[in-house]
């Protein structure tokens, strides 16, 4: 998606050869019009997949997941990373290690909100080492729902996540694939 690539070049910051910071428009400050155009691009790609639910994990995936779901006219469900006193129902759970937070999370999803006849589209802002996405895939498998694919805003193609997720048979559609962040420069695939 050309608009996204231009925006990454304009407003992204390369912190080191592993980390691209896009907090000006994607995951801290949010450009809602860009979100909607990305939602439309994902809809175009998956429009014939019969999607019934969009699944993401808090927090950075929620904005783009809502934009995708609006196009499909289906609900969003987001997995939780922290337990609350009000979680009284049975939950699907999966273990996820976050490298940026250096912490293991248990992600949780109320079993009411994912059923075996659902067709699920996963959505997230980044695909890097793939841990969050593999956790969501695990939860979809537990539910017996059909997994239609993963819609990713930015894939760091030089890290292993994309390979790991595709290796378990999940189609990944990324709007921007980054081949390298070496020497402070963003190089797209």
């Amino acid at each position: 998606m050309d608009e996204l690539k231009k925006r990454i070049l304009q407003d992204g910051r390369v912190l080191n050869d592993q980390v691209l910071k896009v907090d000006r428009f994607l995951n801290h400050q949010i450009d809602v019009d860009l979100m909607d155009r990305m939602g439309h691009a994902f809809f175009d790609h998956y429009r014939d997949s019969g999607i019934t639910r969009v699944l993401t994990v808090e927090s950075s995936g929620i904005a783009v997941a809502c934009s995708v779901a609006r196009r499909f006219q289906v609900p969003v469900v987001f997995a939780r990373k922290t337990r609350s006193l009000t979680m009284v129902d049975d939950q699907y759970t999966a273990e996820v290690f976050s490298f940026t937070r250096q912490k293991k999370f248990t992600i949780m999803l109320n079993k009411r909100f994912l059923e075996s006849d659902d067709r699920v589209l996963l959505v997230d802002d980044f695909l890097a080492k793939g841990q969050a996405l593999l956790g969501l895939i695990n939860i979809v498998h537990q539910s017996g729902a059909t997994l239609s694919g993963a819609a990713i805003v930015i894939e760091k193609a030089f890290q292993e996540g994309g390979r790991l997720v595709r290796a378990v048979g999940v189609e990944v559609y990324s709007l921007a694939r980054i081949a390298s962040l070496k020497n402070g420069k963003v190089l797209f695939s």
Copy 2:
């Protein structure tokens, strides 16, 4: 907002006389069309306030904040509750105690994303004891920005948050105000 009140009566669950669970449409599974209509209602109320930024805190406020911001054609910024290795800039911070999670958080906002000439609308899904909203108000005051008000989906009017927030001079506009959850029943103000 009648549609929201009907939805609360239809899909909300009263866990006890303090807790209303609305995870079917608001803060775990999300009804994106309802979000948009709520965004429109908030826009109608604050349309003459010259809003330049919508501020919320992760995670449950993000979806409705995006719907509000789309109407105003301004960015959303969401405060973070957990520190990441990629947070390299100066942050505004405030301490917040969450009763549902029984935990103290430091909420953080990159100083780049809130400026003294901003006119800010706060958005959140719930106003109960007011801790999260008071933390956001603290951050807006630190930034020197003008606070135009707070847009709340559900205010539990029998808890102290609304009173505390209004006592510091912040206008609160809630789409549904709940007077009581006693005897398993939702009673609106």
